[in-house]
């Protein structure tokens, strides 16, 4: 089984899981009293947000290790993680307004949390543009690593702005210092969804990594391993 096929299999598993999460969220999880059905988007929005930010941390860590070890695999992983992170940030930025319209009464507001996700998205896009703008593959890997590390350290600063800037966004429900204030059935659905998004992240990154291996082969004048 090639890496690409493995990636496809994992992604398929994740997508089936996503269907499962939605069946559970819509049919077997109680409807939130105030927000009604709009709250269901939470099970998609928050796990995607968690992985959009985590992917940036992986990009930064892979970059840091790349600068020491100069191992191409780390660079390929960082590039893959950044692309998948971009996709997840896009999911957050599209599901957010869909929820915001009925609950806040507006598609978009310059709330700190929205803004910080948008900035994270911009960091990702900048990272991908940088990779496209450097011709020399070794230079590209190093520059990408430097930007990835800076991006990783920027995330907490952007996150911290949430607490300093006035915000309309709901506060953290699960990932906060005190016990989660979500009812048990909702918490289970949420946890399952986080697990499913983890599988999706692994699946996407594996596929993208396999494609990067294929793409890198002609650059070095070798035959790709398939």
């Amino acid at each position: 089984m090639t890496l690409l096929a493995k990636g496809r299999a994992i992604t398929l598993l994740g997508l089936c899981g996503l269907v499962g999460v939605y069946v559970r969220a819509l049919a077997f999880t109680p409807v939130e009293r105030v927000q009604g059905l709009a709250q269901k988007i939470y099970y998609l929005h928050v796990p995607a947000a968690i992985w959009a930010e985590t992917a940036m941390i992986f990009v930064g860590l892979a970059g840091a290790f790349y600068l020491f070890l100069k191992d191409e695999r780390l660079d390929r992983f960082a590039a893959s993680s950044a692309e998948v992170g971009t996709v997840f940030a896009t999911i957050v930025l599209t599901t957010g307004p869909i929820w915001g319209k009925p609950i806040w009464g507006t598609w978009w507001t310059w709330d700190a949390r929205l803004t910080s996700t948008l900035l994270l998205f911009f960091v990702y896009v900048g990272y991908l543009l940088l990779r496209a703008a450097v011709v020399d593959p070794f230079l590209r890997s190093r520059y990408a690593a430097v930007l990835g590390i800076c991006g990783m350290f920027l995330v907490p600063f952007i996150h911290f702005s949430v607490y300093l800037f006035r915000t309309l966004h709901p506060g953290p429900i699960v990932l906060k210092p005190s016990a989660p204030s979500l009812p048990a059935p909702m918490l289970v659905t949420w946890a399952v969804s986080v697990a499913v998004f983890t599988v999706l992240y692994v699946g996407f990154v594996t596929q993208r990594y396999a494609l990067a291996v294929r793409g890198a082969a002609p650059e070095r004048g070798e035959a790709g391993p398939g």
């Binding site: 600068l67 911009f122 450097v134 430097v146 590390i149 800076c150 702005s161």
Partner: protein
Amino acid sequence: MRETLREAWTIARKDLVLEFRTRTALLSAFVFTALVLTVFYFGRDPTAVATIDLAPSILWVTFTFAAMLALNRAFQLELEHGALDGLLVSPLSRPGLYLGKLVANLAFVALIEAVGLPLFVLFFDVPVWPVLLPLLGVMALATTGFVAVGTLFSAMVIRMRFAELMLPVLLLPFLFPPLLGAVQITARLFGGRPLSEAGGWLRLLAAYDILFVSLATLLFRHTVDE
């Protein structure tokens, strides 16, 4: 440590001497600042929006744009006649080279701000005298933060396609925390609020400076070495 600082001073002095001998970049930056401030004045309805409400944003957007100009030329300068290669084969340490460039850029941006601030006071009639000292402090903190990241990135973009476009695209997300902090503190100062009210933002700016100056000093080596 002492050696690094000495090297940094050598580089900074070289850049500043070069700047003062030609003066073209500096003069253009002054004119640019004055033009942006003028455009801002007419970019709003003076009967609907009080100047004082917009003043902090006008001040900081102008400074950021002007700084971007300064940063774009920081390493562009070294590309002519292969000057960068000369610097790199010289026995200068990389942290010394970075810190020197940082100091030169800071001096350049500080000069722009020194001209921009009086113009800003003149054009927008902002009561700046009572808060001059804290305002200068905030300007120093915020400028150090974004020039530190900008200097690092400007060393990378010179070897990219569309360098002038890539720098703002990569840098603007990183300018967000210092810019937001500076605008928030400036707004409180102009509003006659005590500085202690902005304690959180001040800590954010200070943490940003410490982290990104050290990070950029460490990472700079990877952006210039072959």
